[in-house]
Symmetry: C2
Subunit: 326 residues, 2 copies
């Protein structure tokens, strides 16, 4: 049942075509996490002409190390599970596009999707499964130094900061998890927390005391990240005094939560205050023929198997919608 | 990642305790299909004191041969997937009971569950994931001869009827699939259909012509199944004339649809006209602290990955409920 990653790449090369701007798809799927990839398998097996636009395969799953709550695998790492999902989609032969962002989406009898490279595609139904992305600080230096010391995924990137001074921004669970990934290998970890206390689970906070190299700056915020070819310092502002100081650091992990990747569909479908797309139990959005699934929606819990189930639901709802049209 | 079934049995023996009537469980899960087993993994990992009562492990999945739409496996058979699910639950150590039916359930601050052997258990929250079961004919001989020629699962049992005359009751997709499992090996297949035509998908009906040993009795119904140590004949009634005749047969496959396993909870939670438990998108039923997931509910589509996702949702909703209590 197992296969190696080379085999996956081989099948991948062989079995997919790029999206065709001249084609009218029955269903276009946006997103390549568990929801989008599951939706793809269901749409193809129903005989729908299906396209899928993926920015990053696996979404948040690819940032996860050990997974023990995806049924069927007692323990599997995120990258491995994502490859299995991708492989399962590509075995059917699908029009597939990777590494592209969605610029905008339009509703109507024919749904339109415009990509960041200007190409546009049309389909009878649309499934939005673009998931969530890391929230950015929006300060000078953040964008320029991303991948050069500014990081958003401690599971992926912590090992690169061995022996270095590192700033972790945030005080919730994901920030504490980054600290636990970093403290054993970094020379020093400085937590910059906006509020006057940490908001993570007690058990994660208590564990901080076991490290001798962690300090917390409460009620501070990052004003700027400075560096040339890589991060050199982080400018922080004391929120009580307004005074700015500089922390020498080789890395900054920004762990201030997640935001839905739904900006491109603003004004087209209804969303809640957090930017999540509002769906009913069958994954219908407010717009006929536009369905949504997974972490980008109001589904109550965000888990791989839940996103997978929601992707299947959205796909079957979309198939019913398309079949009613013809 | 793979393991053999002996290893599973070994772990199974080692890691679970039977349910304890003296214990007050945080969460009791009813059902051992994809929804119930997924719920179990989530409840245990959240640190809840959890029990699970299973009639048949895997539910409908165990009757399925090839599965290609469960994400993570390009192709797997039902029994193998079910074993992986069970193994994943039992690795954590859980109070587990197999081969028991639920007699009744009661609501209130403490939920009660009574088994068919008279033992009763109490818990703060309840997750009902008892799935669907094959619909029975309710005719004389059906119950007595079940397992002695009366069968409900052609995938499981067709091979036992090689060279025999077999009756298939029903005219929908599952009946046609039984015919396709049986016709190549049985000496003759007689379809007994209540209506004046078959209701299965065209493609399945068309394929019947390729067999020389299949006949259909339209507008007939089964009146009785006769036999001693095994099925010997099926008494059928012509619905137009009322005349009864006898078909000599060594087997009867009853394929007349599915019914929710929800009888034991009638009057406790709200159901729709088909006996499905009505849930909202968070798997809440009409009764506080009673949650439901999977095919026993009003969830719009019945699929393994959807049932799994619903089980996870029900578990996380139940955990939140229990945590709010304390």
């Amino acid at each position: 049942m197992d296969f190696n990653l080379n085999a996956v790449s081989f099948i991948a090369e062989k079995n997919f075509s790029r999206l065709d701007i001249k084609k009218t798809y029955d269903i276009m799927i946006l997103g390549g996490g568990p929801a989008g990839l599951t939706a793809a398998v269901y749409c193809i097996r129903k005989g729908m002409s299906t396209g899928i636009i993926v920015n990053e395969v696996g979404g948040q799953v690819a940032w996860t190390s050990g997974i023990e709550n995806y049924m069927g695998y007692r323990h599997i790492n995120g990258v491995e599970l994502v490859q299995k999902f991708k492989e399962q989609v590509l075995q059917f032969g699908i029009d597939y596009e990777e590494g592209r962002r969605i610029e905008s989406v339009s509703s109507g009898p024919m749904k339109g999707v415009v990509l960041d490279d200007g190409r546009s595609f049309s389909s009878r139904a649309l499934i939005i499964a673009t998931g969530k992305d890391m929230r950015r600080l929006g300060v000078p230096g953040e964008r320029e130094l991303t991948g050069k010391g500014v990081a958003f995924c401690s599971i992926c990137d912590a090992p690169f900061f061995s022996g270095k001074r590192v700033v972790v921004v945030g005080g919730g669970n994901s920030a504490m998890e980054a600290v636990h990934d970093l403290a054993p290998i970094a020379s020093r970890v400085i937590i910059v927390q906006f509020l006057e206390s940490l908001t993570a689970d007690r058990v994660l906070i208590d564990k901080l005391e076991s490290y001798g190299n962690v300090e917390v700056l409460y009620e501070h915020e990052v004003a700027e990240i400075r560096g040339g070819s890589s991060v050199e310092s982080v400018e922080v502002r004391d929120r009580k005094t307004g005074k700015t100081s500089s922390i020498s650091a080789g890395g900054v992990f920004i762990q201030i939560g997640l935001v839905p990747n739904s900006g491109f569909v603003k004004g087209v479908v209804s969303m809640n205050g957090s930017g999540e797309i509002i769906i009913d139990c069958s994954c219908n959005t407010s717009e006929a023929g536009i369905f949504a699934a997974g972490d980008v929606t109001t589904v109550p819990f965000k888990q791989i198997i839940i996103a997978g189930g929601e992707g299947a639901k959205a796909a079957l709802s979309a198939c019913e919608y398309v079949m009613r049209l013809t």
